[in-house]
Amino acid sequence: MSIQMSRRGMLQAAAAAGAAAALPFGLSSHAAAEEALTVFGPLPPDPAPPGAAKFSEAAFEAWKKAHGASVTYDLLAWPQLHDRMATAFASGSAPWDVIYMCGWVPEFVSFLTPFADELPKSLVDDLPASSFETVTWQGKRYGAIFTLSLLTLFYNKEHLAEVGFNEAPKNWDEFKRATKELTRNGRFGFVANYGDPAGIGGTASYWMAFLQQAGGKMYGEDGMPVFKSDAGVAALQMMMDLMAAGTDPGSISYASINDSTNVLLAGRASMMMNWPFMWNAAQDPAQSQIVGKLASAILPAGPAGSASIDGTDAWTVSKASKNPALARQLVEFYLDAEVQKRQALDTGWLPIRLSVLADPEVQQKLPNAAVVLEQAKHPYNSFVTPDFNQVTQAVGTEVQKALQGQKTAAQAIADASDLVTAIVKRRG
């Protein structure tokens, strides 16, 4: 392969040489121009970067020009991201500079650089401190969340009004009562996607939200599971009670959130835990029969108050990047206040910057922004670890067994705890 380099490329290459020389491996195919960046991320309508999704396109062009950079997008449907990444990493190569991650930072941390520790203070101060929880490993920050994506409660105002609820249920008891009363006329009070046990948005992660509402947590200081507790059992019992009270029985078979969202959008379920992105879909008359009827509220409080989980859509920078400084600047551009605002207004993905979340224009266009911001004041840990997939697979499967009546809540939690202990020990 012939290597062609512009003058500026040479200069930048020289500047980056120090960093590049220290890297364990390089990629010849990307050596053509040092100012070239490759970004790996999801296709829209999942949270795609500017230029890929339709927002801030002019600003993106201007940024590239100003930095003498070319940016290549390698975009893939969200469900396949992890497979392609895993194959590349397992073969020892990471052909991308900037990489999208969703709870996978601890898993792939050895391929990433802790670039977020170098983000300007003015930017970091404008981000919720807890947003770094899922992208921090052993004290270093490897990623920057770019959209505030927390589970909140979505509900059909009309249905709730019919049974005398003028606002969303505030606590577990009200939640159960509402679910029971709303289950009538061929409708269900609640719907969820309990079909896929693993990952963010899988059965286990829903239980994690209830766990924190009950005041529990997954791991102790030593990294070993501590959820075999009253809180762990109460969380699962709550899910089972909701099931009995009037959760769509199909929930156990809905393997993706789209399956359950459709039930809510068809008006045959009244409540659902869902992500902020859902808001725009519900207002689209081509796919929703409940346009204008949807409202959102923070998740009902358990014994310890409200709590949620983090959808954790983050940008990271590859350790193998030839131009980590430029890669960091690209992420800073993605987090630029104006870009964040367009992201919210044009795509429906909420910003992560607190100043933009508070922007009246954003709040008016996306009324759920205020709710998500309120939810962010409560815990929203997703408990990601290097073996997150394995842990959530094990926990989620036990939760499914309990939901199907094969096990009691206490049994399922005890078994899940044993499984997770074995997984954590094997990691060593």
């Binding site: 992890h82 020892g92 199909g250 156990i252 399956d259």
Partner: protein
């Protein structure tokens, strides 16, 4: 005698000349990956510090399999699934081939329709069936209810037995076309002179089927059975889209488990061990089938 030897020799060298390119190509593509996957099965593989760390642990992964409840479960599911699928696909495929070989089934329309289920991209096919089977808005529920066959919408993918059998149904639907095509090609190779002879001898149609059709089809059926066995043991995409192995691991098949362990858990050595179990199982079954049909081949010659 001398010319006979030359004839045989010529056939042998021509044979080697004809077979070599294919073998070389196959070895070049698959040699290393297959050996490597067998090596991986004997190792503990971890992603660390930007590179893979591997340590040789002998049969450690296979010992782990023995104690792994999910694996045992997956093996049983796979056994049921594969046996049922091979039987259903070959029987239905044979039936369809007979239909399309009958003068009434000759119009091109049928042959084109035959190819369609198989030609639909599996990713879309799986999503199509997920919608058809949906517990809340699936059209299957809608049709069955309007026909009065069910009172309430059923959660087809909600209980272990039902979910596994619906996976089976969808995979059978997708797999029948190729086997039918293969057997149809086989039926058309049955020399019509044999039927004419049967007719002359006054054999009934059923007798002709038993004594002319079936024996001539043995080779084609054997190929169909072997290939379908291989494919049934490798089913993955349907599980991935329709059930994710759920509910509660009820529909986990071995190849899906190998995928999950390798790509979701990044436990690459353990995943390779599961894949190699599939390999050995398939190999044993294939040897069995081939032993069973070999006498027939000899007789045909």
């Amino acid at each position: 005698m001398a010319s006979q030897a030359t004839f045989e020799q010529r056939r042998r060298s021509a044979g080697l000349f004809l077979v070599a390119p294919a073998i070389v190509v196959l070895l070049a593509i698959l040699g290393y990956p297959i050996l490597e996957s067998m090596m991986l099965a004997l190792q503990r593989v971890q992603l660390n510090a930007g590179e893979i760390q591997r340590s040789f642990i002998g049969l450690g992964n296979f010992q782990r399999l023995l104690a792994d409840e999910t694996f045992r479960h997956a093996a049983l599911n796979t056994l049921y699934f594969s046996v049922a699928e091979v039987v259903l696909v070959v029987v239905l495929g044979f039936g369809v081939a007979l239909l399309l070989n009958h003068p009434l089934g000759r119009p091109g329309f049928f042959r084109i329709l035959l190819v369609v289920p198989w030609a639909i991209a599996p990713v879309a096919n799986a999503v199509l069936w997920k919608w058809i089977l949906n517990a809340n808005y699936g059209v299957l529920n809608g049709i069955l209810q309007s026909l009065g066959l069910i009172d309430y919408y059923q959660v087809w993918l909600g209980s272990p037995f039902s979910a596994l059998n619906f996976l089976l149904l969808v995979d059978v639907w997708k797999s029948v076309p190729f086997v039918a095509l293969l057997l149809l090609a086989g039926l058309q190779r049955v020399p019509s002179i044999l039927y004419r002879a049967a007719y002359m001898d006054g054999a009934s149609r059923l007798q002709a089927f038993r004594h002319v059709t079936l024996p001539s089809m043995r080779g084609a059926v054997a190929i169909a059975v072997v290939l379908q066995t291989i494919w049934s043991l490798r089913v993955f995409d349907l599980v991935f889209v329709l059930t994710r192995g759920g509910p509660a691991d009820a529909t986990v098949l071995l190849n899906f488990l190998a995928y999950r362990v390798t790509f979701n858990f990044l436990d690459i050595g353990y995943g390779a061990a599961i894949a190699n179990v599939i390999f050995v199982l398939t190999l044993l079954l294939a040897i069995l089938y081939i032993r069973l049909v070999r006498p027939a081949e000899g007789a045909a010659r």
